[in-house]
Symmetry: C2
Subunit: 125 residues, 2 copies
């Protein structure tokens, strides 16, 4: 693992805030002001391919990067905010119903987050 690979891995795992490449770049620049965005993308891709981190692609906003530990996501349809949830593990029943081996699965649940719900109410009064 190279210096930057390790740093980026740690940022993704420490700040479990579903950061974009650009946010990771900003974070990394605090300690390494000369790092370039291309390096961030290179290493994010490497880490994803190695399965050490996980890419979460979002409609209408740049990809987020997340720790690889199994968990699911609750996504606000209005503001796009991502929240971690832990729904029951579907691996066994997926394997059974598909009759086929698979690598991973991704479950996103869409809703309107409490804040956005409040805003709508306020706006409609």
């Amino acid at each position: 693992m190279t210096k930057y690979e390790k740093q980026i891995y740690e940022i993704v795992n420490k700040l479990t805030g579903h950061l974009t490449a650009d946010q990771i770049f900003s974070e990394l620049k605090k300690s390494y002001p000369s790092v370039s965005l291309a390096t961030v993308y290179n290493n994010l891709n490497k880490l994803c391919e190695a399965g050490l981190i996980r890419r979460v692609s979002m409609e209408g906003s740049p990809d987020r990067y997340d720790r690889s530990a199994k968990h699911d996501h609750l996504v606000c349809r209005r503001c796009g905010k991502l929240t971690d949830i832990c729904f029951e593990d579907l691996t066994a029943s997926l394997k059974q119903q598909l009759g086929e081996d698979f690598l991973a699965y991704d479950l996103k649940v869409y809703y309107i987050c409490p804040e956005c719900r409040r805003k709508t109410q306020a706006a409609s009064i």
Copy 2:
């Protein structure tokens, strides 16, 4: 529903091939050679907001548009090919486990499709 809205809705539902905006544009041009790509995007967005069609965002390739009827997707990690599957309906148990209402959910299962598996084998001989 405007002319183009209806046409686009029909293309998405008739050609259940998970088309990209650009593919829909090509298809639509066959009957309406003067239509513009912006119109396609406008109407796809409107149809998505109305819940009449469904956007499927894919890592590393443009968004696909799909009929809105509930179904899940099997995605090849190598070539990106999308296949429809119908896994058990999770609505009830999600609602219960979340203790919260939600709008929809999206389940993607990643695997290596038979074709890509074959290619790898051939390459490694």
